[in-house]
Symmetry: C2
Subunit: 175 residues, 2 copies
């Protein structure tokens, strides 16, 4: 008994899928996420196929990716061998997890790679190049440190910080 979606929900999901493509997430994956976000209770993969008219395999792959992002959670019902899925409902937690996973994918190995080049440039006595690479290196590792620190705090802080917006920046400026 999968949720049958209304035209409005379909429109939202389609939009969400469209946005996903611009975020480096496949359209199907983002649509599956959009659907789950609009579901009241956990649904199984078959339900998703029915509602979104996607191939079963595609839904499977999408769910796997969403689990990597930690945007959906599995659930099992007694006497039912199928897996059910729910989306993280809190949008701030959602945003945080998306950003965290993206950061991970996008800077994975970068620090090490730049470091390697940096050492080579230094060995060759190419000061200018070394300086530039050093700056890049500092940026990348700071980004990693910030992400690490961020992981240790509850979502509520980010919500607070975001809602303070400019005021917070003004505060920092005075430090």
């Amino acid at each position: 008994m999968g949720m049958q979606i209304t035209a409005t929900q379909r429109r939202f999901i389609r939009r969400w899928g469209e946005m996903g493509t611009r975020w480096g997430i496949s359209r199907s994956t983002a649509m599956v996420h959009g659907y789950l976000y609009l579901c009241r209770e956990a649904v199984n993969a078959e339900d998703i196929c029915g509602a979104l008219e996607l191939a079963r395999s595609n839904v499977s792959t999408s769910l796997k990716e969403l689990e990597q992002f930690r945007l959906v959670e599995r659930e099992s019902k007694a006497g039912d061998r199928r897996t059910f899925y729910v989306a993280v409902a809190d949008v701030w937690e959602m945003a945080r997890r998306i950003l965290e996973e993206r950061r991970r994918r996008e800077t994975e190995g970068a620090v090490a790679a730049v470091n390697e080049c940096l050492r080579a440039a230094k060995d060759e006595g190419d000061d200018f190049t070394a300086t530039r690479m050093e700056a890049m290196q500092e940026l990348l590792s700071t980004a990693e440190n910030v992400a690490d620190a961020a992981r240790r705090y509850p979502t509520s802080i980010f919500r607070k910080a975001a809602l303070m917006g400019g005021k917070l920046l003004g505060l920092i400026a005075k430090l």
Copy 2:
């Protein structure tokens, strides 16, 4: 007289290009940027072609995209009709501009689209859907507000904030 690149620089540029693809920037575009970042002085398009072995057209398109990101600036030399290019040298300013342009591309029109769906859901009396869409809407518009605020502050603040890292979050937690 374009700069001839060393093996180390080539390695760095190749890496940078690779990273670019994960950031939704084409390999060539990221490579052109990497090259400019390692240049001491402004270079022209032909130089870039020579150093990176890319088609002239490709370099042209890449430079145009980099200008959209505001990562490179044009320069003209007296008695030379060609255009010369330099990359923004400060990595923090660079990061800020990349994030700003990405944010713009990735949330462009999203608030309006979600708002439209939200109104429809409300009209239909679908409270659950409306609530979820409202939350999403709040998130997206807050993101836009933060970005707007961020644009008004100098780069130095972000560097400061990033280097404070976890300490800053701890501070906010106490507010």
